[in-house]
Structures are given as C-alpha cells and as structure tokens.
C-alpha cells in the first residue's frame, strides 16, 4: 500500500461519509456544508488523477458558485429550515434498495470487466496538455460545438433563472 493509495483511501472514505451525510443530515445547511466537503474530496481526487486544472475548476465552479447558491437557496427558503421530522419521504427504503441494487450491479460489472486493471500510463507533456485542451475546445473539428452550446446553455440558464426567480414588482 503506497502513500498514494493510503491518501486515496482516506480521502475516498471521507468523501463518501460526507456524501452520505449530505443525504441523511436533517438540517439543510448542514447537508450543504457536507456537500462542500464532498466537492473538496472530489477536487482532491482530481489532483490525485493529476488533473490539477480540473481540481481548481471544481473548487471555483462547484464550491465557489454552486455550493454558495445552495446555501443561498437554503437560507431563502428559511421558514422551512426548522422543519421537524425525518428529511426523507415515505418510501425512502425503495430508493435505498434501488441504490444498493445499482451499486451491486455496477460493481459486479466493473469487477468482471477486463479493462478495469489497466496500468497507469505515464503522462508526458505535462504543460502542453492544458493548452491542447483549450485548443480542442475551440477548434472546429473537435469540441467547438459543445463548447458554444454550453455557453448558450449558461446564458439561457442565467436569463431563465433571473426571470423565474426575480420577484415581479407588481
């Protein structure tokens, strides 16, 4: 068990526990905070996978923006905060059952899949990769369409959100 694996296990455990508590915790803000912790865990995973850029993007996008949005939303719908009683609805056990069932299925498939034990190839052009990614995102024959669509989606989402959530001053 190398140092890396140990770190991997620790972070994995921490992230999964955080994720679980996101789902289970009574208080919405607490679940938001746990979400932030999970996102940090995922960011660390990116670092482990030597995708530094994604780790930082993860932090900026998720933690910087989305988590804050969640907290904002939780605060805005404040009256509900004191809601008592269990946070999960009546037939939660079906959900649990399906989740477990899915997990079992996927794990079973993964273990039986030959490719899951591929060796870790060494990365060569460390620095060039980022610029290559940037270029691929805008070069017409690769991913310019999804990139532009994503931008359109973001603008539309922004306008939509403003329009829907903005309280109409009647």
């Amino acid at each position: 068990m190398t140092a890396e694996q140990i770190i991997f296990l620790i972070v994995a455990v921490v992230t999964l526990v955080a994720a679980l508590s996101v789902v289970i915790s009574r208080n919405l803000i607490h679940s938001a905070l746990w979400l932030i912790l999970t996102l940090f865990g995922v960011a660390i995973f990116y670092v482990l996978l030597e995708a530094g850029f994604f780790a930082v993007i993860q932090v900026i996008v998720y933690i910087g923006a989305i988590a804050i949005l969640f907290i904002f939303a939780a605060m805005l719908t404040r009256r509900v905060m004191q809601d008592t009683g269990p946070q999960s609805n009546t037939n939660w056990w079906i959900g649990a059952l399906i989740a477990l069932f899915l997990l079992a299925g996927i794990v079973f498939i993964l273990l039986s899949w030959r490719g899951s034990t591929t060796p870790l190839a060494e990365l060569e052009n460390q620095s060039g990769r980022l610029s290559q990614l940037g270029l691929s995102l805008v070069s017409p024959d690769q991913y310019v369409l999804p990139f532009e669509l994503a931008s359109v989606l973001l603008v539309a989402g922004m306008i939509g959100a403003i329009f829907v959530a903005g309280d109409k001053k009647q």
Binding site: I29, L33, G52, F53, I57, I60, I63, G64, S127, L130
Partner: protein, 413 residues
C-alpha cells in the same frame, strides 16, 4: 548558490540531506520539508500582519494629522502585541441557537482562504510555495472559499443583522470576483501562461506598462474583495454594527481581524506579482534574496496606496457599489480583454513583417498595448461624460405651477 544570495534553498537542501541521512525515504522527506515550508510561510504571514496593523494605524494618525500609537515601544511598534494579548484573553461568547459547528468553522475558513494564496506567490526566482501551472485559477478558487466563510459566519450567528450583513458581503465578494477574474486573464493572455512564476518571468516589461487598465480593475476589484476602504460595507460600523462579525468575540473575532488585514496585504502582493513584476529588479535573478527585497518594497508601496485609499475614500452605498461593478468594471474588463487579445494577435502576426531588433520586441509590444489602453481610457471617459450629461438633463424638467381650479360650470352660465 550560497547562504547569502539564496538562504532559503540553502537551508532546504541542508535539511533535505540531513533527513535523508537519517534514513527516511525521499518522499517522506519532501512531505516533511513541504510541511516545514508551509509552517514558515504561515508564521511569516501572521508576523507580517502584526507589523501591517501597526503600520496602518500609524499612517491613519499621520494622515489625520495625529500621532497614532507611540506609547508601547519606540514609535509604538509593539502596540499590536498588547492588542493581540487583549483579544486572546477575551471570553468566548457563542450566541443561543447558533449552529455550533458552522459558528466555529467560519473564522477558520476566512483566515485559511487568505493564507492559501501565499502558497502560490513567488518571493524570489527560487523561493516559491508550490509551482502550480494553474496558479491564477488557484487564486480565484481561494477567493471563493473566503466568501464561503463570510456566509457561514453570518448565518450561524443566528442574528438577523449578521445574516443581512453576510448576504451583502457575499453579494459584493461574488460580484467583484467577475471583473477580478477577467482582469487576471489579461496578464495570463500577455504572459501566455497561467502559472504565476511563468507570469513573473514573462514580465521583462512590467505588465502595468502594457495594460494599466487591467491593473487598475484588478486592484479595485481585489480591494472590494477584501471589503476595505470605499467598499467596506461588510462591517460598516455605523450601519450594521460589525456586520457578520457582531456575534464573534475573543480570538474568533481576532481571526477575522487578522484575516482581513492579511488579505489586504495579500492583494497588494498579488498586484505586485502580476503587474509590477514581482521579484524582478536589478540582479534579482542572480541573488534570490535581492528578489525578495524587491518584492517586499513594491508590496509595501502598493499597500501604502491601499491604506491611503481606505482612509480618504467615503463609503459606497450597496446599490452604487453593485452598479459600479456590473455597469462599469465588468463591461470595461470584457472590452479590455477582447481588445488586448486582438492587438496581441495582430502584433504577433505582423511581427515578421517589420524587422525589429530582438531585444526591442517587448518594448514595441508594450508601446502598442499602451496606446490601445490609452485609447480605451479616452473612449470610456467620453462615454461617462455623455452619460452624466444625459442624467442631468432628466433632473432639470420643470414642475407644473399650481393653477387655481376653474369655478364649477353652474356658476359661469
């Protein structure tokens, strides 16, 4: 590579050899060294705060034509120490109904956010925290965590004022992040890299010369980010008591206080590294220590400007602040980014055309960019003027003069 010119690396190597000699594996040794380095930088950060607090209070006094702290130690330089001791001894009061975990977590987050930025700033060609190739984005990410701290503090103290305060603070921090990021992109564009070290190396001609507007936008938006000076709505004493810090006392309040001051100095350091060439100076390359000296001299000058602005500028209203951001800074930053990209691209495509001396290229490039920026400044000023005139016009509409009501029809006939 001897002790005088480059003490830090000297010590680092010495330690490294020492530990390896003790039989630890190289990986473990690097981990330990990393820890030691982080510890030194953190301690240095706090020490720096103590000095800057004193410096700031002295400056306030001098600007306001008073002496400032001079009782404790010569020129009052030890004034900060009794403050710290005072804060340490204060009693911890946690408000009723406060969310304990989140209440205690908030100050830690806000201070750690600031300290994390120091990990990336290069003090000298050889002395730098970690060499991250997406350094600039790292800075932005860390800024986001700071915002998180503020929200949690505001919300967990179960106090309406603090909640309102935290909302406003977050709104301000999040919205000012946008122009800051855009302004950051300009040096990235010019330096052709996201890593801060490579940026500094690329600054043979300081970026301030190439795009003063970017520097200005970055500086103002980071000031807003910190929540000081004209934008210090966060803990506007007159209005929201201490904003989100009201419910904190003792060391927790201290943490916030230290975090804030350190953040102020950090933004000046950042401005220096990104726009004023960081540790670049004569012989800096040869003698790393000299780089550090240059770096701190520039930082303190910028810090001086920050304090100066803080003292002299009146506080902005929340809507003015947001309008200034969304209606002036962000569009300007966008236009600037696009303009620099275009100019840079055309310059490099035309470069082979006009045969310049090898060393003259950066200067010519700087000139071209400077011209573009000046043009942009003129245009914006012109726009602002026309915009202002129009507003005045609106105000000047005459009001209807009171007229006696006509007598009822029955009377006339």
């Amino acid at each position: 590579m001897n002790f005088i010119s480059d003490p830090v690396t000297f010590i680092a190597n010495w330690l490294n050899n020492l530990l390896t000699s003790w039989g630890l594996s190289q990986a473990v040794v690097t981990v330990i060294l990393k820890f030691i380095g982080a510890g030194i930088v953190g301690a240095f950060g706090f020490a720096l705060v103590i000095f800057t607090i004193w410096l700031e209070r002295k400056l306030y006094g001098r600007i306001q034509d008073r002496l400032g702290p001079n009782r404790v130690g010569p020129w009052g330089i030890f004034q900060t120490v009794p403050d710290i001791i005072k804060i340490f001894t204060k009693e911890y009061i946690t408000p009723v109904g406060a969310d304990k975990i989140v209440y205690n977590l908030a100050p830690i987050l806000s201070v750690s956010a600031v300290l994390l930025t120091w990990a990336v700033i290069p003090f000298a060609p050889t002395i730098v925290g970690t060499e991250v190739n997406v350094g600039v984005l790292y800075l932005v990410a860390v800024g986001a965590i700071g915002a998180l701290g503020i929200i949690l503090a505001g919300w967990s103290s179960n106090n309406k004022y603090s909640l309102l305060g935290s909302f406003r603070a977050v709104a301000q921090v999040v919205s000012y992040e946008v122009p800051m990021v855009l302004a950051l992109l300009v040096p990235v564009l010019l330096g052709r890299s996201m890593g801060i070290n490579s940026l500094v190396n690329a600054q043979s001609v300081w970026f301030i010369v190439l795009s003063p507007i970017a520097a200005l936008i970055f500086f103002t938006s980071s000031m807003a980010e910190v929540g000081r000076a004209p934008f210090d709505l966060l803990e506007a004493d007159s209005e929201l008591v201490a904003g989100y810090q009201t419910e904190y006392s003792g060391l927790k309040f201290g943490m916030f206080y230290v975090g804030e001051f350190l953040h102020a100095f950090t933004i000046s350091a950042l401005t220096v590294t990104l726009f004023f060439g960081g540790w670049r100076g004569p012989w800096a390359v040869q003698v790393p220590l000299l780089g550090v000296v240059w770096f701190f001299i520039k930082s303190f000058i910028v810090y001086y400007v920050v304090v100066l602005i803080r003292i002299s500028m009146p506080r902005l209203r929340i809507d003015q602040m947001l309008n200034f951001n969304w209606k002036f800074l962000t569009p300007l930053a966008l236009v600037l980014l696009i303009a620099t990209a275009i100019v840079d691209k055309t310059f490099f495509t035309l470069l082979p055309g006009l045969n310049l001396l090898e060393i003259a290229i950066p200067w010519v490039r700087a000139g071209v960019h400077l011209v573009m920026n000046l043009l942009l400044i003129l245009v914006t000023i012109q726009l602002l003027k026309s915009y202002r005139i129009k507003r005045i016009l609106v105000v000047a509409k005459p009001r209807p003069v009171a007229v006696a009501p006509e007598p009822p029809a029955s009377v006339i006939s």
